[in-house]
């Protein structure tokens, strides 16, 4: 059982010893049950930190912003940033280290094991409570979540309201950390790709009908891109910004600028955007499920990423986020890679 007091104590110690610049954790949100990210710079503010089953965010995204702001400072503070991570988030850090985007010493990792459970899914919870407003969530005994509402406490087995990705999680404890809270226990998992296999077995016309309906909904808000810890290109192929149109720009220059993807949210362009997004995450996505959670029109984006994770595992025996020293999926090859599809 992870006690939030222990986390606070450790975080406070790190701040007092000036080991870290600041701590990024979770704090109580203003509205509803979901917490918000907390940036804690002073040891006396440490009581803001919370840890409950609603801590869904992947805070490793903030390492990207941290790196960017650091590169603009004249005399940057070289101390690491303290970061509260779950199992999935720690794998994201591993991938960022693997790609040499950050160094291991840039981050002080406060790892928390999900211990047999995980984080909840807000929609599943709302369904379960049938309209009642949850006020607070807690980890209970025997893999149960305790949900507080106006009418009192309710105990719900974790399995029933766990986020989909937690149900398919391969390692629900941090794989890289400086301090660890909770035990490294693995939730039994029959098949991490159950949902994908169901999808794979459909005939192609049904698959197409499903994706056409889903991708058509996309409004191109790019929330999936904004929230992803792996989407760190300075310029995205989906909306190129580096081509400045000035008074001197000729029509020819404008015409010659390649526009890979139109910005209009129509089916064909959405498909290219989502396919490119998924391919760019091949062998990098650590299945934190944030893209799907933030999607305002509920596109099952996790499926696309999970499919590539499955293929990487089956075709190339590649697993994401466990070893920061391995080469990334598409920047290496093996002689025995399958080539039965090649003529």
């Amino acid at each position: 059982m992870v006690r939030v007091e222990d986390i606070k104590k450790e975080a406070k110690k790190a701040l007092e010893e000036e080991k870290v610049k600041y701590i990024i954790g979770y704090e109580k949100g203003a509205n509803g049950v979901l917490p918000i990210p907390a940036f804690i710079k002073k040891p006396e503010d440490i009581d803001r930190i919370i840890w409950d089953p609603a801590c869904v965010y992947n805070l490793s995204r903030f390492l990207l912003d941290e790196k960017r702001s650091k590169s603009k400072e004249k005399e940057p503070d070289e101390r690491p940033v303290g970061l509260v991570v779950k199992g999935c988030d720690s794998r994201a850090i591993n991938v960022l280290i693997q790609e040499k985007f950050i160094n291991r010493e840039d981050v002080y990792i406060i790892g928390i094991s999900c211990e047999n459970t995980g984080v909840l899914d807000e929609k599943k919870l709302a369904k379960k409570l049938k309209g009642k407003q949850p006020e607070k969530t807690e980890f209970g005994e025997k893999d149960k979540f305790i949900i507080k509402t106006k009418d009192g406490k309710i105990e719900i087995p974790a399995e029933e309201i766990l986020a989909e990705r937690c149900l398919e999680c391969k390692a629900n404890f941090p794989v890289v950390y400086d301090v660890l809270f909770g035990e490294k226990v693995k939730r039994p998992l029959e098949n991490p790709f159950k949902s994908i296999e169901k999808m794979d077995s459909l005939p192609k016309e049904e698959k197409w009908a499903f994706w056409k309906e889903q991708i058509d909904k996309c409004i191109r808000c790019y929330a999936c891109r904004s929230v992803c810890p792996m989407c760190y290109c300075d310029e995205c192929v989906a909306d190129t910004i580096s081509f400045a149109v000035t008074a001197d720009t000729t029509a020819e220059e404008k015409a010659q600028k390649i526009k890979w993807i139109e910005k209009s949210p129509v089916s064909s362009e959405n498909f290219v955007y989502h396919l490119v997004r998924a391919i760019h995450l091949a062998g990098r996505c650590i299945d934190c499920g944030e893209c799907e959670r933030v999607c305002p029109v509920d596109i099952p984006l996790r499926f696309l990423n999970k499919k590539l994770e499955k293929e990487a595992k089956e075709l190339f025996g590649y697993e994401v986020g466990f070893d920061p020293d391995q080469p990334s999926l598409v920047s290496c090859f093996k002689d025995e890679d399958p080539e039965d599809f090649i003529r």
Partner: protein, 140 residues
């Protein structure tokens, strides 16, 4: 009389082998369907997945990526990187429900003009019953 449907194929051919292979087919006056639009790239490994999606997006009925045989790559290993990447793209396109026949990869060396013509012939034959590709085509 209605004209028979002719599929349009975009072929990304590597400069050192496949492009020379198609050239050989041409100079040897081998007959093959004129449905293919060849685009020479420096290496099959330089074909970004975006090129492939973009080709479908801009109206290709089929896309072919062709490179040197393993071990023959001008850049030593470019085609082996391509093999891995293209496998993922192929699985991805199948996953969203595009017909798997529409996207092919082949190894064609500079001496294999006949193989090249055969690949194009087979490809066109496979594409004809599928009809035009409308799934990913831009329709603004």
């Amino acid at each position: 009389m209605a004209k028979e449907y002719e599929p349009k194929i975009v072929a990304f051919l590597c400069k050192w082998c496949s492009s020379a292979g198609s050239d050989l087919a041409g100079v040897s006056r081998m007959v093959y369907p004129p449905n293919v639009i060849p685009i020479t790239v420096m290496c099959s490994g330089s074909v970004s997945p975006l090129y492939i999606f973009s080709a479908f997006n801009k109206g290709a009925d089929g896309v072919l990526v062709s490179g040197c045989h393993p071990g023959d790559c001008h850049y030593i290993q470019g085609n082996l990187y391509a093999r891995r990447r293209i496998a993922l793209v192929k699985k991805m396109l199948e996953f969203i429900g595009l017909e798997p026949e529409r996207f092919q990869m082949s190894w064609v060396s500079a001496a294999e003009g006949t193989k090249y013509t055969q690949i194009i012939k087979d490809f066109v034959e496979e594409l004809k019953p599928l009809g035009p590709q409308t799934k990913l085509r831009r329709n603004l």
